[in-house]
């Protein structure tokens, strides 16, 4: 199994638990190697919460969109001051607001800079939820082709060669133990391989259900059969709940098997916990990934 690269993109649809996984990976890395970096977008609130008690050795870097674009402007124009003046121009600001590709490019440039400034450390990036999967990571190649020349082209080109490339970055793909979600994730895997040249290194199945005692459902059925009236109606709901749990369990096991077949490395399974889970809960389970 290949080792993870210096930059690890943690990706997946909204709601699959990426932030917890990214924070747990960073914690596992810090536990094993002393230090790690966790990159978050937005205000870093979710990242701080996910790190919870387990933040020792983990540096949280928050990337804010406008700041990233200003830095990109500074790099391109050669002067931060001028860049901020340009970006302050109302019309430019509006155009940039409507040109998301610039936002992605700026963010990736920032990630590359963060990694370059911390040699020897692994950087785990909690990527924004991807409704369109590969969109973010495809931007450098798209922009490179679109621009053809110029300072922005050079930045896009550098990102293609030095960031979004095998050996430079790894991808950890998060999914849920539901058939359709996994199917989408496997399609995403193929798309990443085809369009970005970077297939995911690992797949993490999050919120894996716990099994119920084996004969619980049959025993519930039996009880339901002998009861009458309101009692019976209530018990019907219990039976339905247990049926649903068994179906979820069967589906989860099936999904795990499919993921194992469809990908070169065995999926990592993280259990569903009854309450809020933070990095402490999962860091140990992810130790094998960061070795």
């Amino acid at each position: 199994m290949q080792k993870l690269a210096r930059v690890v993109f943690v990706i997946g649809k909204g709601g699959v638990g990426k932030t917890t996984v990214a924070a747990s990976l960073a914690s596992a890395e810090a536990a094993r190697h002393g230090r790690a970096v966790l990159v978050q977008f937005g205000d870093g609130d979710a990242g701080r919460r996910a790190l919870g008690r387990q933040h020792e050795g983990v540096e949280l870097v928050v990337i804010e969109s406008r700041d990233a674009i200003a830095r990109l402007g500074g790099a391109v124009i050669g002067s931060d001051l001028v860049a901020r003046a340009v970006l302050g121009n109302f019309a430019v600001a509006r155009f940039l607001g409507a040109a998301p590709a610039i936002r992605e490019l700026a963010a990736l440039a920032r990630i590359r800079a963060v990694s370059a400034d911390r040699p020897g450390l692994r950087v785990f990036v909690d990527m924004p939820a991807t409704g369109h999967g590969v969109a973010w990571l495809r931007v450098p190649a798209q922009m490179r082709e679109l621009l053809g020349a110029g300072p922005l082209f050079e930045i896009a080109d550098a990102l293609c060669r030095e960031l979004v490339a095998p050996g430079r970055a790894s991808i950890v793909l998060c999914t849920l133990p539901e058939r359709l979600v996994v199917l989408e994730s496997l399609e995403l895997w193929r798309a990443l391989e085809r369009d970005v040249g970077l297939p995911p290194s690992r797949i993490v199945i999050n919120r894996f259900p716990s099994d119920m005692p084996r004969d619980a459902l049959e025993q519930a059925h039996a009880l339901h059969r002998v009861r009458t009236g309101d009692d019976r109606t209530e018990l019907a709901e219990l039976v339905e709940t247990l049926v649903a749990r068994r179906a979820a369990w069967d589906e989860a096991r099936d999904v795990e098997a499919r993921a194992a077949q469809g990908t070169p490395v065995a999926p990592i399974v993280l259990p569903q916990l009854p309450v809020d889970a933070d990095a402490a809960a999962f860091a140990q389970l992810l130790d094998g990934v960061v070795r």
Binding site: V16, G17, V82, A91, G131, G148, P151, L180, L238, T241
Partner: protein
């Protein structure tokens, strides 16, 4: 003839709270109450689409799962890629040449993916379009599972103003400057002209050219574009729109709701209600039944597991509800239980039952 704008209810909430299911349940409750309702989901699990009998695409489909809602429930589950195309068609209706130029413009094609990312914005245009032909009284809009899901609400207004006044003039002059040789880098620039040259030299003549071309074509359909965007803005921020926050009893969902409530406030509105999903208020009826029956070991163990989970949820939900009540004392709160069923249609149906008594508070009727 333009129909009256439907009552739009935007459901916002973080990831993993069951928002799509809640939105569908609200729509079902609404349809059962006799109101012609459209539910628009942004990132539907195909499982839900199957349950409602609709398909993913950019056309509105009728939902026939429940006779009590017969003929009154519709669903739209846009597919992002085709949604962008349809919006392009809608905006450029009647101007074939301009449409084709934009559709083949390199910059547009490069950004089509990214534009598709503004899924909600496309959905709003599709809703306006649907409202032109269907007698829609209410639209429930599900949004992306993220705390940034409401960013799109200001886009129509911003896009509309792009084609008005100063911005348009600047963009026009930008294209001219693309032809001029780039100014020296590193100079402190004062005044618009140097800024123009800097932007032009940064993006390159090809991109500027493509960009200018798109805007030239957009100004051909300027009136329609403005109308489409202003209609969208009216739908989202008009007097008959409502914002409902959907959460679950987790710290992440709570933080997302706080953030989204602030965002709604920034828009000059206030959320009409908070829906707490998977927030059971107490033990289900069967717990007492089973415990009183001297159950066999596996069943007893299963009940204990389920009850432990349920108790944890209830405790977290109580805390969340109290925190929200303290922060927003006047805001309606609706608590929905966790529904465990293998069949999504059953879940939607039961949630609709639970929502019905509070429906008017939610939709601001």
């Amino acid at each position: 003839m333009r129909r009256r704008a439907p009552n739009l209810v935007v459901c916002a909430g973080g990831g993993g709270v069951g928002k799509t299911t809640v939105a569908a349940a609200m729509a079902l409750a609404s349809a059962r109450a006799g109101v012609t309702t459209l539910v628009v989901t942004v990132d539907p699990a195909r499982r839900l689409a199957d349950a409602l009998g609709t398909t993913i695409g950019s056309e509105v489909g009728r939902v026939d799962v429940d006779p009590a809602a017969a003929g009154r429930l519709y669903a739209l589950m846009p597919d992002p890629k085709s949604a962008v195309r349809i919006c392009l068609d809608h905006v450029f209706e009647g101007e074939r040449a301009a449409h084709d130029r934009v559709a083949s413009n390199a910059l547009y094609l490069a950004l089509e993916d990214a534009i598709a990312g503004v899924h909600e914005l496309m959905s709003v245009v599709l809703i306006s379009r649907a409202a032109e032909t269907l007698p829609l009284e209410r639209v429930i809009v599900d949004t992306a599972p993220s705390r940034h899901a409401l960013d799109f609400v200001t886009y129509p207004g911003r896009l509309a103003s792009l084609l008005e006044g100063r911005a348009m003039k600047w963009l026009g002059s930008l294209a001219t400057h693309a032809a001029a040789p780039p100014g020296p880098r590193g100079l402190v620039a004062w005044g618009r002209r140097r800024i123009d040259r800097i932007v032009a030299s940064t993006l390159g003549p090809r991109v500027i050219g493509d960009f200018a071309s798109i805007f030239a074509d957009l100004s051909i359909v300027r009136k329609r574009f403005t109308q489409v965007t202003r209609d969208a803005e009216a739908l989202l921020l008009g007097p008959s729109s409502r914002f409902v926050l959907v959460g679950a009893p987790t710290a992440a969902a709570r933080a997302d709701i706080q953030h989204l409530a602030r965002r709604v406030h920034d828009l000059g509105r206030d959320a009409s209600a908070i829906v707490l999903n998977r927030a059971d208020t107490g033990p289900p009826g069967w717990v007492a039944s089973v415990r009183a029956s001297d159950p066999r070991p596996d069943l007893a163990a299963a009940v204990e597991i389920l009850e432990t989970e349920r108790a944890a949820r209830t405790l977290a939900a109580d805390e969340t509800a109290a925190a929200f009540r303290k922060r927003w004392p006047g805001m309606t709160q609706v608590r929905l239980p966790m529904i465990a069923s293998d069949d999504p249609a059953t879940i939607v149906g039961r949630l609709a039952d639970a929502i019905a008594p509070s429906l008017d508070d939610l939709v601001g009727a």
